[in-house]
């Protein structure tokens, strides 16, 4: 049973705890996965055109905006890569892992996790049908990619729940 938690431990730090070994291994692979963002399929997904049929707007977008997005994505990956050097086994529960990082890095973590999920999906051609898979063959790279997408998705969902206290009730 997974008892994964993402929670603030004080005003300045957030901790992911209860990380099972399989997810710890996936997290350690995040930097390598993020390096694949420039492969054609992954690139097309992460840096899409802003319009369906306005070539001039699309061209300007790819020249001006896509580099900004790339910088944003790369920067998030680098932040998480640095934080992951602190990923270690929980002293109280040696079969589990934990990592602690500054609260300002939460957005970088969400970005890096989601980038990795999207990159894996593009590289392994994972669509709706594959996302609904419930049995995973360890010998199938596609099945293992689906499993990674789901487990990283569960972690991402915990980050979203952590963000739940920030509803902009008064902004509309």
């Amino acid at each position: 049973m997974i008892d994964l938690r993402v929670q603030p431990i004080d005003e300045k730090r957030v901790r992911i705890s209860g990380i099972p070994p399989v997810l710890a291994a996936m997290l350690r692979e995040l930097p390598e996965t993020l390096e694949l963002r420039e492969l054609p399929d992954a690139h097309a997904r992460l840096f899409p055109n802003p319009t369906a049929d306005h070539d001039k707007i699309n061209d300007e977008w790819q020249q001006m905006v896509a580099p900004e997005l790339r910088h944003l994505f790369v920067s998030a990956g680098e932040t998480v890569t640095r934080d992951l050097t602190a990923l270690d086994s929980d002293q109280g529960r040696p079969e589990e892992y934990q990592v602690t990082f500054p609260v300002e890095h939460v957005n970088a973590w969400m970005s890096a996790i989601n980038q990795a999920r999207l990159i894996l999906a593009e590289i392994h051609k994972i669509g709706d049908k594959e996302m609904n898979r419930t049995a995973f063959d360890p010998q199938s790279p596609k099945h293992m990619a689906s499993l990674r997408i789901h487990l990283l998705g569960y972690l991402l969902h915990l980050f979203v729940e952590l963000d739940g206290g920030n509803e902009p009730e008064n902004r509309v």
Binding site: T51, N114, Q115, L118, G153, E167
Partner: protein, 102 residues
Amino acid sequence: MAPPTETGQPGVLVIGETDAKDELSSAWNVIVHNDPVNLMSYVAMVFMRVFGYPRGKAETLMLEVHQKGRSLVWTGEREQAEHYVHQLQGYQLLATMEKSRG
């Protein structure tokens, strides 16, 4: 350019009025498209963050994306539409913009 149009005043034609009006008044829709990977909870969170929408509206739009394949999440001037698409793509949502037909 639009052809000259009669104004009703003798000798006075207005040239290109329609084009100019189109450019000034045309609104742009910001569209978010469904994809099989982005979490529903994540998409709703992004709508709340980017547009400041309350949770109920964000979740309604998210469900529209999920069930209909796309949702019109905002309409307005082109510059602001570009800003929103930029932000949404920064969260890795499949966001585009298109000229409003309305």
